[in-house]
């Protein structure tokens, strides 16, 4: 599972930056974000073998504990279906996270860092790891 060929491709990509082999809607800015995350992941765990869309999907849909009571899951606001629009707790529409629906997703590094910072704290009560973030982006890039 860990050594699926998709992951191998991503690892390759993070080193060589060959955007053509990205699963969907390749974007240099998103690649750069992923590359940074991969570097971080490698630093934390030299055995890091690459990001996984399956892990990302599980993380996205899971009910977590440790965070704030009103937001147990990423799906609390982003809707169960990442290709559909979500809604904040105050009722404002959130555009879909799936890159196929919303190609500008995960392309602005400040936005990505800000929202991972906030939402991971709200949902998990801690920062997300580089692996969790990378998995999340890979999963939604393929959606």
């Amino acid at each position: 599972m860990n050594k699926s060929h998709k992951i191998a491709l991503i690892s390759l990509l993070s080193l060589s930056n060959v955007s053509m082999v990205l699963p969907a809607a390749a974007d240099p800015a998103r690649d750069a974000i992923l590359a940074t995350l991969a570097e971080e992941a490698k630093k934390a765990d030299p055995a890091f073998g690459g990001f996984s869309a399956e892990r990302g999907q599980a993380f996205f849909a899971a009910k977590h504990t440790g965070g704030k009571p009103d937001t147990p899951s990423c799906t609390s606001c982003h809707s169960q279906d990442p290709t559909a629009a979500g809604e904040t707790r105050a009722g404002k529409r959130i555009e879909p996270l799936a890159v196929s629906k919303n190609p500008s997703r995960f392309t602005k590094v400040d936005e990505v860092n800000k929202w991972f910072g906030r939402n991971c704290n709200s949902v998990l009560g801690r920062e997300c790891t580089a692996v969790e973030k990378g998995d999340f982006i890979i999963y939604l890039s393929g959606k």
């Binding site: 937001t71 904040t88 707790r89 105050a90 009722g91 404002k92 910072g117 906030r118 939402n119 709200s122």
Partner: protein, 381 residues
């Protein structure tokens, strides 16, 4: 004072026109306007404010007309005639006490006091009304010169006088009924056809005639002068609505999860407290990098409730002691929205009580005018 026998008043007496057409028209238009103003004022002022204001402005015009006609109108329309009639008040009171009230051709002294009372109260009502409109709502000709505090004080006077008017109308109607009964004359019909019976042997002094041309020109001059003055006043910028620069950072960052609240809706201390703990923001982490937070802090401090004199800013400055960061927990907000079905706030069209723009079309200006409230229909959850 004249005496005549009560029984045969209408049948055998000669009917003479005392109330001229303009005076009668004035009377019934005033009835209509005052009735409209009272109704819209006491029932749901927010919803009917437009109609209330129209009625108020109509009363202004009617009053102006009446004072001019009181100088240039026919005999019994004139203020001097009415002032003369007041001299008979002691006679009238004595007669009433002895259950033999004297009869009058033209004005009855008690009636004149009532009329003067009405005119005085209406003048104060329209002036305080304009002050409320200018001070509290920041609308109308006095918006540029009336503070909220002054408008609020005017409102207290306005409300007491409105109750007084109700009382006076009651007394007026009772008085007219009793007098009609005692004199055997239908005074209400008299205010419609203008006729009154001429008592036996009563010689009508040559009445002064109307001078419509003079009246018309004075009204024209007054209308141009006051209209011009009011127009000039209304071009002044409203007091306490400072021009506010748009801040893209505030809009984007504080508008990501909900409507970016107008800075005037909370006092400075509330904004400071809110920004100090963005990581614990109403059950969510809304933290920001320091540079953006500082920019937003400066913006909110510059345009917080203290910098505004709108009704909303004045009221929401009094925050709830337990929830000082929530507009929706202030007693004013709670009181103003108590009658709204809670289900509407959760409906698809509104979603949350903090979604002010769903119902207040001018929320982005901070004004929250009554005329700009458009409550959407509750449709589905």
């Amino acid at each position: 004072m004249v005496n005549w026998s009560v029984s045969d008043a209408h049948s055998s007496l000669q009917m003479v026109r005392v109330w001229d057409l303009p005076t009668r028209l004035f009377h019934w238009l005033l009835v209509l306007s005052v009735f409209t103003a009272l109704l819209t004022g006491f029932l749901a002022p927010e919803w009917w404010l437009g109609l209330h204001l129209t009625a108020g402005y109509a009363i202004v015009l009617l009053l102006v007309f009446r004072f001019v006609w009181g100088i240039f109108g026919t005999e019994y329309a004139r203020l001097s005639n009415m002032a003369n009639a007041t001299r008979g008040i002691w006679n009238y009171v004595r007669g009433l006490a002895l259950l033999r009230p004297p009869h009058y051709f033209g004005h009855n002294p008690a009636g004149v006091f009532m009329i003067f009372g009405f005119l005085a109260v209406f003048v104060v009502l329209v002036v305080t009304g304009l002050m409320i409109e200018g001070g509290e709502e920041k609308q109308g000709p006095l918006a540029g010169v009336t503070t909220y505090a002054l408008g609020h004080r005017a409102k207290e006077v306005h409300e007491v006088l409105a109750l007084l008017v109700l009382l006076m109308i009651g007394i007026h109607i009772a008085g007219v009924s009793v007098e009609s009964w005692l004199q055997g004359v239908n005074l209400v019909r008299g205010m419609i056809d203008g006729l009154m019976p001429r008592p036996w042997g009563y010689h009508i002094p040559t009445p002064r005639r109307a001078r419509p041309l003079a009246a018309g020109s004075v009204i024209l001059v007054l209308a141009i002068a006051t209209g011009g003055a009011l127009y000039a006043l209304s071009t002044l910028p409203p007091l306490g609505i400072p021009p506010m620069a748009e801040n893209a950072t505030y809009r984007a960052e504080c508008g990501a999860c909900h409507w970016s609240f107008h800075p005037s809706l909370l006092p400075r201390s509330s904004w400071e407290q809110l920004l100090a703990k963005l990581d614990e923001h109403f059950g969510e982490d809304a933290s920001l990098p320091a540079d953006k937070k500082n920019e937003i802090a400066r913006y909110l401090a510059a345009y917080s409730g203290e910098s505004w004199d709108t009704e909303a800013a004045n009221r929401f400055r009094l925050v709830s002691a337990s929830d000082p960061m929530q507009i929706t927990k202030t007693s004013y907000w709670v009181a103003k929205h108590r009658q709204i079905d809670p289900k509407l706030f959760q409906s698809a069209a509104v979603k949350s009580s903090s979604n002010c723009t769903a119902c207040h079309k001018d929320a982005d200006t901070g004004r929250f005018d009554d005329q700009r409230i458009e409550v959407p229909k509750a449709s589905g959850p």
